[in-house]
Structures are given as C-alpha cells and as structure tokens.
C-alpha cells in the first residue's frame, strides 16, 4: 500500500533515481462489501472520516465511495482559508477543535498539507465595525481562542499595500486578527487523508456514484451504486453540495438548498500579501497562494443551482471590493475563475447527526465554510459513525435542532439561505 513512509531520506533516494520510484499514494479500491461503514463522498470530510474511523476506532472494513475522483469536488474549489474565530459558542468549539488538528496535521498524516498559519485578518471599516470586532474578540478570548484587536497603523504595517487613505472607497479603521489561522493546500488535504486512510486498509472507490439505498423497513443496509450494490452496517452521507440530492434518494428532505459559490485567482506574482484578508462588512476575502496567485471570493449566487458555474456579476462584486482594498490588484491579470456547489443550510451552520432512518447518518450543510473544518468534521463524524452517539462538540449540530428551535444562526438571517 502506498509508497512507504515519506521522509527526507525517501526524497533523497528519489532524487538519486530521478524520482521514478514513486508509486500510487492509494490503491484503486474495488467494492468488496459488506463493510462496517460506508462513507458516501470522497471529499476532504469523507476521507478524514474514514481515516479517523480506522485510526481512532479500529474499524478497518470501511469504504469511501466517490462519484468522481479524489480532489475533483469542493475540496479542490474552495479558497483554502482556515480559522476558528466565529461568534456562536457552538461554532467556536467546533472550529477550534478542528484548528487544533490542523496544527499537527502534516505530521499526523505523514503528508505535507502545507498548512500555513499566516494569520486571518478581519477588517473594520467604521467605528461600528470596530465595536463589533472588539465584541467578537472578547467572546473568543473568553473561550480560550486567540484574537488580537489591532488599530489602523498595525493593519497598515501588516499589509502595506492596503489603501489606507481617508478617501478610500472602504476606509480601514483597524482589524481583528487570529494569528493561528491561515491557509492550507486544499488538494493535499484530500490526498493526504486518502493515502493515510488507505494505509489503514480503507477502500477508496472512485468513479462510483450512489443511485439509491438498500433498505429493510426503516433501516438503511447499504447503497446502490453505478458499480453494484454494497452492503454496510452504517452509512454516512458526506457530500456537502449534493446533500439534498443524495438524501432525496432515501426519501428525505433537508433544511438545505444547493447554491453556487465562485472563486477567482490571479497570475502568480512575488509575495505581496502575507496574511489572509477578509471583510465581513463587504463580504470579500483573499490570500496569496504559495504559488503566488491571489485567490479570492465573495458572496454566493443567491439562488439554487447544482450547475458548478456562476454569474459574472458576483465575481465582479468581490473583485471590485478586493481592488478597492488593495489597489495594486488592479494591475494583475485574472487567470481563472470557477464555481462550486455549496450546501446552504437554513441556519448557516453544518448538520452532523443521525437521520430519521436507522443506520443512515448525515454530515453536510457546511454553507461556504467547510474547508476549515475538514479534520475536525471528519473526526467527530467518525465518532458518530463508530459509536452511534454524537460527540459533545458535534451534538448541538443535529438535524432535529430546526424543528426544536435550537438553530445556530451566526448571521441572524433566519431560514433564508439566499440572505447569508
């Protein structure tokens, strides 16, 4: 399995041999059920789930089934931002749990996920913004999560290319920075978890789309796929973007709508922005990738779509905002834009829990913020799939919260995904 353990020595040996000895990082899995657990969806979250099922819980008969290829869905389409500075305590606990895993992830997986804790900066554009950021910072510190409120001069020192003029379109008054936040290489996260899970015996089955569920009364006993029926003790849906579609195959309706979210990248340039820049007042965020491109994004497209393509007008919004903050960006060529399908949940928070069907579990509803949660989400979902019980950190995110009035609404926007 795999090409053995990666190390400086294996790299050196590779260099002497012209790097021709590197093998596949994971086997091409074939369905060979029955499995103890099937995870539907080979994105970062699904692969992390499979890895922690094998590692934490010793469950070895695990399959990840993926309709396309590993890294071809939302895992490879996000803007790679990692942070835990949320407002609601439930989300703070969830994302901080994940952030702690990010900090040791490359060692854990023996795979360089290029996690770069370069700081994640929220900008404040007015006195009211600064008051809001101060309130959030206090809430974070009370939870034991790092947050620094910094003034205008400190922001200017951090990113000298900001337009700090008093007549700027969006004047900058200060910011709130989480220094342990940053970015990671998104494909590497999927590949690293795939390889590590494979090493523990997990079958990763690509090009295998779920077309239905095997049922015995109210119990789900496996999945129907384009590569035949596969039986499983427990089945976990982990297909954010397509949760509505897959749950629909089991006859379920979810508090989720699928919307388009776009991102863009410029040509690569020398280092010019060495922190993650975000403005929640404008809704624009960007950072510089290790390759040098400025990667950014903004609002989703505000109406349901599974099309993986978006309207130019939304791109224009976020690019105009980015250029107003860093005018030098206007000199760069945009080389690419793309879109992903996001699970917009009806309170803006993810759903991790059981479904009304026995043996069928759900992890989805990540809206446009799932990447940062990858290791934490996987580990908590593995706990649920292995034990049948939610981990205390995941428990508030159950599906029943909507009917019981326990929504976790970070934006205070109500059940309207297009208003988030």
């Amino acid at each position: 399995m795999g090409a053995g353990r990666y190390s400086a020595l294996s790299l050196l040996r590779g260099a002497l041999g012209g790097h021709r000895h590197w093998g596949r990082a994971w086997r091409a899995g074939e369905p060979r059920g029955p499995y103890d657990v099937i995870v539907i969806g080979g994105g970062g979250h699904g692969l992390a789930t499979a890895y922690y099922l094998a590692k934490d819980h010793g469950i070895r008969r695990v399959a990840v089934i993926e309709k396309g290829w590993i890294g071809g869905g939302n895992t490879g389409r996000n803007t790679t931002i990692v942070r835990s500075n949320y407002r609601q305590p439930q989300l703070q606990r969830l994302l901080e749990y994940s952030l702690k895993l990010w900090h040791g992830l490359s060692d854990e997986l023996n795979y360089n996920v290029m996690f770069s804790p370069r700081g994640a900066l929220f900008l404040g554009h007015s006195d009211a913004d600064m008051a809001r950021l101060a309130e959030r910072g206090d809430a974070l510190i009370a939870m034991g999560i790092d947050a620094d409120l910094i003034d205008r001069d400190a922001v200017a020192r951090l990113v000298p290319l900001f337009d700090m003029g008093r007549d700027a379109r969006w004047p900058i008054e200060g910011g709130l920075i989480q220094r342990r936040g940053g970015t990671a290489r998104h494909d590497a996260v999927a590949w690293g978890f795939a390889r590590a899970a494979d090493n523990l015996g997990v079958d990763i089955i690509e090009n295998c789309e779920v077309t239905g569920f095997l049922r015995e009364g109210n119990r789900v006993t496996g999945v129907r796929t384009t590569r035949g029926d596969i039986a499983a003790g427990r089945t976990g849906i982990c297909v954010a973007g397509n949760s509505g579609h897959v749950a629909g195959l089991a006859g379920l309706k979810l508090p989720i709508e699928s919307h388009t979210l776009q991102a863009w990248v410029t040509e690569p340039v020398k280092p010019m922005i060495d922190t993650v820049v975000m403005s929640q007042t404008l809704h624009c965020y960007f950072s510089q990738s290790d390759k040098g491109g400025i990667v950014g994004g903004g609002d989703p497209d505000f109406f349901p779509s599974y099309a993986q393509r978006g309207a130019p007008i939304r791109l224009e919004d976020s690019i105009a905002q980015a250029i107003s903050l860093v005018p030098a960006l206007s000199r760069l060529r945009m080389v690419r834009s793309w879109a992903g399908v996001t699970d917009m949940s009806f309170d803006g928070s993810p759903i991790i829990g059981e479904t009304p069907l026995d043996g069928l579990y759900l992890n989805g509803g990540w809206c446009y913020g799932g990447f940062k949660a990858t290791p934490g989400s996987g580990r908590l979902y593995a706990h649920l799939l292995a034990t049948g019980q939610s981990h205390p950190i995941a428990a508030p995110f159950d599906l029943a919260r909507f009917a019981q009035g326990r929504t976790i609404d970070e934006a205070g926007a109500g059940p309207m995904p297009q208003n988030r």
């Binding site: 397509n242 949760s243 509505g244 579609h245 629909g248 309706k253 979810l254 508090p255 989720i256 709508e257 699928s258 505000f302 109406f303 349901p304 779509s305 599974y306 099309a307 309207a311 130019p312 007008i313 009806f346 909507f402 009917a403 059940p415 309207m416 297009q418």
Partner: protein
C-alpha cells in the same frame, strides 16, 4: 447568467430579480405548526426541475413563479403569481 422573461416587462437580466423560495414551501397564516415547520425547513432541493417563487425586485416589483432546471439553468416557464 439567467435571462428571465418577465411576463410584464419582457426578457430582463437575472440581476433585476430576487429568488424567494421553492413554490411548495410557502408558509400560510393558518398552517398547523408541523406543516409550517416543514415549509420553513424542508426542501426537496432537486438536482433537476423545480418551481420557484421570484420577485422582479428591480423592475415591475411583481411576484413570479419560475419553473427552472437547477442543473442546466434552462427556464421552462415564468408565470405571474
């Protein structure tokens, strides 16, 4: 980008319109609690054609019922509501 044929104004760009909700998810004042809860929080969210309620917010202001494919973005029909 969608080109939406408004029955009142003719074909207009998507940006003039605002999506409201799926047509089967309208909450009525006299709905029983469980019916209202389903309308508020449950969506078929089909990877295919669904009827939706939109409003021509930056145009005539009228409410519309669009039948639209969420995969191909093809609009089958637009009717006044």
């Amino acid at each position: 980008m969608l080109l939406i044929p408004c029955p009142h104004c003719g074909p207009r760009i998507q940006e003039e319109f605002a999506y409201e909700r799926s047509a089967d998810s309208v909450v009525r004042l006299d709905d029983a609690p469980d019916v209202a809860m389903t309308a508020l929080f449950s969506r078929a969210n089909l990877r295919g054609e669904e009827a939706e309620i939109w409003v021509h917010a930056q145009g005539c202001g009228q409410w519309l019922r669009l039948t639209r494919d969420r995969m191909s973005h093809a609009i089958r029909s637009v009717e006044p509501l």
